[in-house]
């Protein structure tokens, strides 16, 4: 009787343990102590595209909760914009950067490239320098917010990599930006 009990315990402890180990082997976001124990197999349907949000504990393929996924997407997709020929951070830019600093604090394993871009007006060489100025400006501001310099690499693309290939004021405004990419 005792022997059988042992076997039953083993089945109910070890096997789920193996399953969760496999499913959580990808990047785990070390955040607010969320545990995965006893979770069972990961289902892609659980969290992907779930924006209504109330699916506490559902993970996507990276092991992120919907909230974490949102934060990550916002970090990568919310850019800093600049005035023509300027590297000055507007009030809006500063508040966006405060959110980015928060993300980087919460995700201490992340290091980033800060890309600096320009619109197509202006000349190639000067725009390479202006893009660099924008990237460096963002990096310095994040340093004042406590992000370690070693986690950030500024890379200028000048006018070489526009977000919008158009030739209008709107397109140009979208291209004068700094954006973040994970290393």
């Amino acid at each position: 009787m005792r022997g059988k009990w042992w076997i039953i315990m083993a089945v109910f402890l070890i096997i789920p343990g193996l399953l969760t180990t496999t499913s959580c082997s990808k990047k785990m976001v070390k955040s607010d102590g969320m545990t995965m124990a006893g979770e069972g197999a990961v289902s892609d349907e659980t969290a992907a595209g779930d924006t209504t949000g109330y699916n506490q504990g559902g993970l996507d393929e990276e092991g992120l909760t919907p909230e974490q996924r949102r934060a990550k997407e916002q970090f990568l997709n919310e850019h800093i914009y600049f005035e023509f020929d300027s590297d000055i951070l507007s009030a809006e830019a500063q508040s966006i950067l405060m959110k980015k600093a928060e993300y980087l604090r919460d995700n201490a394993n992340r290091s980033v490239t800060i890309e600096g871009h320009c619109d197509e007006r202006g000349t190639t060489e000067y725009n390479l320098a202006l893009g660099d100025r924008r990237a460096q400006s963002v990096k310095r501001y994040l340093e004042t917010l406590g992000v370690e310099a070693s986690r950030m690499t500024p890379v200028s693309y000048g006018e070489e990599s526009p977000a919008d290939p158009g030739h209008t004021e709107e397109a140009w405004a979208k291209n004068r930006r700094a954006q973040f990419v994970f290393n």
Partner: protein
């Protein structure tokens, strides 16, 4: 005894006269004269044996094209010639100067070609019909496939005689093209022929510049995910990559030296540094907080022009490397960039942005007067002087908004497209003399 004396006297007189004639020849072209009149030059078909009218015409046409490229000559129409094309004139014995004077030919080129299989023995001569003199007589022997090179050599002799400078015929032009779908470095001959792809990074590669008599080249590439500076000897397979954090951009060689300047921003600020050809920092050349970029050196390397926004907008400044003194060069307009120092030392050309247009200007460094060279023709930028300072290569999108490489004289005349390629072409850089053949 008296006869000997007479002969010697005659000899000395003739020798002195020929010297005088030699100096007088520099009157032909004064390239500092802005109201340059083109010299009418006649280049009839060449005598050739065994008969090959195709090669005869091709060779004389090729010389005409090379000389036409310089902007100094008016190539005369063969229809005007009184010479019998079936009996081409070649040397003093056969040239009828009166026939050329009559039609107003101030210069005449003749050729006499002997071929034997793949070998050629070619005589080329330059005459002054009005003085009735031969000015240059050269003989070239070699493979027929090398005929274009021989013709270029002869044209170099002509330009050297007339201007005191060897001209552009041995030079090459490097530029960026998107022909393959990515920005890569390409090169071509001075006249746009023989285009060759130099880089194959399939990334973004920018602003190539030649150094060391055209045997070295430098450019910036994102091949490794950030703007790195590649300094290399394409034929010798030597080179270095400068890959500091931030910018490694806008290389500019010190003329004739194994050194170059570049914009680096590893310190957090964009400044110009002087590097060895191996990529080691020699010293920092600008220290101003703000953008300092786009260096270009005077022919003796003693002064550097560059772009800085230290006064609020991008303007061009000159630094004396020895004394460290910096003075501002451009005061008109709000965006003056891409300076390029003429190999003659007397002028700097640059691009100016005003009202959405970009145009090229040239400033005389003595008078500090700037002349605008392009008008109403789209965006014209990235000027680069020819090694003799008589021509400027630049990019222009005047044809349907597509950026292509153009050439013009130092005075802005004779603007024409250099090369036809797929995609767009940008930022030409003209090699120092003698990188080609």
């Amino acid at each position: 005894m008296k006869d000997v004396f007479k002969t010697v006297l005659m000899g000395v007189t003739l020798w002195l006269a020929s010297l005088a004639a030699a100096f007088a020849q520099y009157d032909y072209i004064d390239i500092r004269n802005p109201s340059l009149k083109k010299i009418p030059i006649a280049i009839p078909n060449f005598r050739i044996s065994p008969t090959d009218s195709v090669l005869s015409l091709k060779s004389s046409n090729q010389i005409a094209e090379y000389l036409d490229f310089t902007g100094f000559f008016k190539i005369m129409d063969r229809e005007m010639f009184l010479m019998d094309p079936n009996n081409p004139e070649t040397d003093r014995a056969t040239v009828k100067f009166q026939n050329w004077k009559t039609i107003g030919a101030e210069l005449l080129v003749t050729g006499n070609i002997l071929t034997q299989g793949d070998l050629v023995d070619m005589e080329l001569r330059l005459f002054d019909p009005f003085k009735g003199e031969m000015l240059i007589g050269k003989r070239y022997k070699g493979w027929t496939k090398d005929i274009p090179q021989m013709l270029r050599r002869f044209c170099s002799e002509i330009i050297y005689l007339l201007t005191g400078s060897w001209g552009v015929f041995d030079s090459r032009i490097a530029f960026v093209s998107t022909a393959t779908g990515h920005k890569e470095v390409f090169t071509c001959d001075f006249d746009g022929s023989n285009p060759q792809q130099m880089t194959r990074f399939k990334s973004i590669t920018l602003t190539p510049v030649w150094g060391m008599d055209g045997t070295w080249i430098a450019y910036t590439s994102y091949a490794k995910g950030q703007p790195d500076l590649y300094i290399l000897n394409p034929s010798g397979k030597q080179g270095t990559i400068v890959s500091k954090k931030g910018l490694n951009t806008t290389p500019a060689w010190v003329p004739g030296q194994f050194k170059l300047a570049a914009t680096l921003s590893f310190s957090g600020d964009q400044d110009i540094y002087l590097l060895t050809g191996d990529g080691k920092i020699i010293k920092q050349l600008t220290e101003n907080w703000g953008i300092d970029t786009s260096p270009t050196f005077s022919p003796d390397g003693g002064r550097m022009a560059f772009v800085s926004n230290r006064s609020g907008t991008p303007q061009i400044y000159i630094k004396d490397i020895g004394s460290g003194k910096i003075e501002r060069l451009t005061y008109e307009g709000k965006y003056n960039t891409q300076p390029n120092w003429s190999p003659r030392g007397d002028k700097i050309c640059y691009s100016t942005i005003e009202g959405g247009e970009i145009n090229i200007h040239a400033m005389d460094l003595k008078t500090r007067q700037a002349v605008r060279l392009t008008y109403n023709a789209g965006k014209n930028e990235a000027p680069s002087w020819s090694p003799d300072g008589t021509l400027i290569a630049f990019s222009s999108n005047r044809e349907k908004g597509i950026s292509r490489i153009y050439i013009m004289t130092a005075y802005g005349t004779d603007q024409r497209r250099l090369i036809q390629m797929n995609g767009e072409q940008f930022t030409p850089s003209w090699s120092p003399k003698g990188s080609g053949n």
